[in-house]
């Protein structure tokens, strides 16, 4: 007995190792990519503690302790961009969730398979429109040709309403960006909710119909409660990402328009601008590290909460 195991074990191990080498070869390109492009930058974060200059390089530049962090937090920009980041993301999250949920409930009422499919395709499309294109559309709507006033102001003109110059009105931008987000993500979110609706057993609706429930009643008292776990997970994940602004969309739209910074400048846009204009790598890396650390806390908390919901949720 003992002998037979010792006899077969090496053979099996040899066979396994031969296959394993092939598998390791398969994994190699991905592993190298992660080491260079995911873990490399993490190591590069030492720049945050250095007085970086290009000629000495990342590891040769002199240390300067927490100087970069002190500089950032005493610059007075920190509260503004942190508040903006959290506020804007919270607004985006709430609006796109509400729109997605509502659209899913309503798409679900569309009878014909083809019609519903078509509607779903149409409202999903904006998700694939790049931030730059969104920015161009927005300028057409809000500024128009040569600043003559865009479509929106033409429309307001009909009703004799005030026609502000939108690109110099910071107060309006959290809402404008939120509408952009609903345009961009409303359909996308509704597809996720529709998928969850698919898994609701049909009998529930049949029973409700027998009891004389209206469609609105079914949507409110059956579908919506059953979608709550999905909603919970999406919100938790959104909150987990709350420290990472959607850089691309905001920067593509606002760009370097300083008038709008008070309400639209988020951590990512701030980091990018300081990198480009000031070229202060140390401070910029320090802000990035601060963002990553706080973001890490949020994401980890979100993952833990999500696993809780996952266990309890009956739908997902």
């Amino acid at each position: 007995m003992q002998r037979s195991t010792t006899a077969t074990a090496p053979r099996r191990r040899r066979a396994a190792s031969r296959g394993t080498i092939g598998l390791l070869l398969l994994a190699l390109p991905g592993v190298i990519w992660f080491l260079v492009f995911a873990y490399g930058p993490m190591a590069g974060l030492v720049v945050a503690f250095k007085d970086f200059n290009v000629s000495d390089g990342i590891f040769g530049s002199p240390w300067n302790g927490l100087q970069n962090f002190v500089y950032f937090f005493s610059s007075g920009d920190a509260p503004r961009i942190v508040v903006n980041t959290i506020l804007l993301n919270a607004l985006f999250l709430a609006a796109s969730m509400a729109a997605g949920l509502l659209l899913a409930l309503m798409l679900n009422e569309i009878k014909g398979h083809v019609t519903r499919r078509f509607g779903q395709s149409v409202i999903f499309f904006p998700y694939f429109v790049s931030p730059i294109v969104i920015s161009i559309i927005l300028q057409a709507i809000l500024a128009g040709v040569g600043g003559r006033g865009g479509m929106l102001n033409d429309f307001l003109n009909v009703f004799d309403l005030p026609q502000p110059n939108w690109y110099t009105t910071p107060g309006a931008w959290p809402w404008i960006l939120t509408i952009v987000k609903v345009w961009q993500l409303g359909g996308y979110t509704s597809v996720i909710f529709l998928a969850a609706i698919t898994s609701i057993p049909e009998e529930v609706y049949e029973a409700a119909a027998l009891d004389g429930a209206s469609r609105a009643r079914m949507a409110r008292s059956i579908t919506t409660p059953l979608l709550l776990p999905t909603l919970g997970i999406l919100i938790v994940l959104g909150v987990g990402r709350i420290f990472f602004g959607d850089f691309a969309t905001i920067y593509a739209i606002v760009g370097d328009n300083g008038t709008l910074f008070p309400t639209t400048d988020v951590i990512d846009t701030y980091v990018f601008r300081s990198l480009r204009t000031v070229g202060d790598f140390g401070t910029t890396a320090a802000i990035g590290l601060f963002q990553s650390l706080v973001g890490f806390v949020f994401v980890t908390a979100a993952v833990l909460v999500q696993r809780r919901i996952d266990k309890e949720g009956s739908i997902l």
Partner: protein, 318 residues
């Protein structure tokens, strides 16, 4: 343990849905009379669809409208007076061609690299090899929680790898999406073990099993992943903004962005001559926008179902 558990939940939720159409059940529930909520739904969905489409249509209409009319009357739903000036300009210059070339290279080469690396790494993780798969899972998972941020990446690409002005500076930093790797893992774990075992008994090596059995069986998921990567590459402009400064190498999105920032200067379009500097700026911008989204617009009707499926897969992780 925790990470594995998370991935298992993902696969539970995901893969049947990938294979299933999204077919809302409630719509099939018995119904006796037209319902107020139903009517409202039709109205709201129609309005929201228009809300999604009209901005895009305005761009298309604007790209065919004479610039002087745009300046005098603003935008209209129908291009009048009709003008092809902007398109003529774009098609005679070399800028557009270069832009398409750059975007195509980034998208095609990038998607090929992304797919290859994603699928092979995902398969090794999905194989549950003792001592290998679990560490790899964690290895690929950590970057979803913590990132080095912009500055170290910038230094890496420009100083260490010296990739400035190469299209690979756009491809490489976004080449692998950990999330999509785990989507692939969850799909691979659903493949019928018997087929793989019978191949192994017939003496097929691990590589052969992967290339000749796993990949052909995984075409649906490869299509989903490929489409997601392709759209990401096509729409990517931030990496190009950071790393590409040679106008001849600008991808389309970056050319477009330059058209926005230099509002009054159409000469910023690479390949534009001095004579074209007095060109129809806004019309040109719209035409360029139309040409940039055109490929997505044409591919969308065919690819849309895959996107919906892929999204459903990722539903719980967003």
């Amino acid at each position: 343990m925790s990470v594995e558990a998370r991935i298992d939940t993902l696969s539970d939720l995901g893969v049947e849905m990938v294979l299933d159409e999204i077919r809302p059940k409630a719509a099939k529930a018995p119904r006796r009379r037209p319902d107020a909520f139903q009517a409202t739904s039709y109205v709201v969905i129609t309005i929201f669809s228009l809300f999604c489409l009209i901005p895009l249509w305005m761009i298309v209409a604007g790209s065919f409208t004479d610039e002087s009319e745009l300046a005098a009357q603003g935008y209209s739903f129908w291009p009048a007076p009709f003008s092809l000036a902007a398109y003529q300009m774009l098609f005679t210059g070399t800028g557009l061609l270069n832009g398409y070339l750059a975007s195509l290279f980034i998208t095609v080469v990038g998607t090929a690299l992304s797919l290859t690396c994603t699928a092979s790494l995902a398969w090794v993780i999905a194989r549950r090899l003792p001592g290998i798969s679990r560490p790899l899972t964690i290895f690929a998972y950590i970057p979803m929680l913590f990132t080095g941020g912009l500055v170290p990446l910038y230094l890496l690409v420009t100083q260490v790898l010296q990739l400035s002005n190469s299209w690979f500076s756009v491809i490489l930093p976004i080449m692998l999406a950990p999330f999509l790797i785990f989507v692939a893992v969850s799909f691979f774990r659903q493949l019928p073990e018997e087929i793989l075992d019978s191949a192994r008994i017939d003496g097929a090596g691990e590589l052969r099993v992967f290339f000749q059995i796993v990949l052909p069986l995984s075409k649906p998921i490869l299509a989903v992943l490929g489409l997601f990567y392709a759209v990401t590459y096509w729409n990517e402009w931030f990496m190009a903004l950071l790393f590409i400064s040679d106008p001849d190498k600008f991808p389309l999105q970056l050319i477009l962005q330059n058209l926005i920032s230099n509002v009054t200067n159409a000469a910023s379009l690479p390949g534009a001559s001095a004579a074209q500097a007095a060109a129809p700026v806004y019309q040109l911008r719209f035409a360029m926008t139309v040409l940039t989204i055109a490929p997505i617009l044409f591919a969308y009707p065919f690819a849309q179902r895959y996107f919906v499926k892929g999204l459903t897969l990722g539903a719980s992780k967003g």
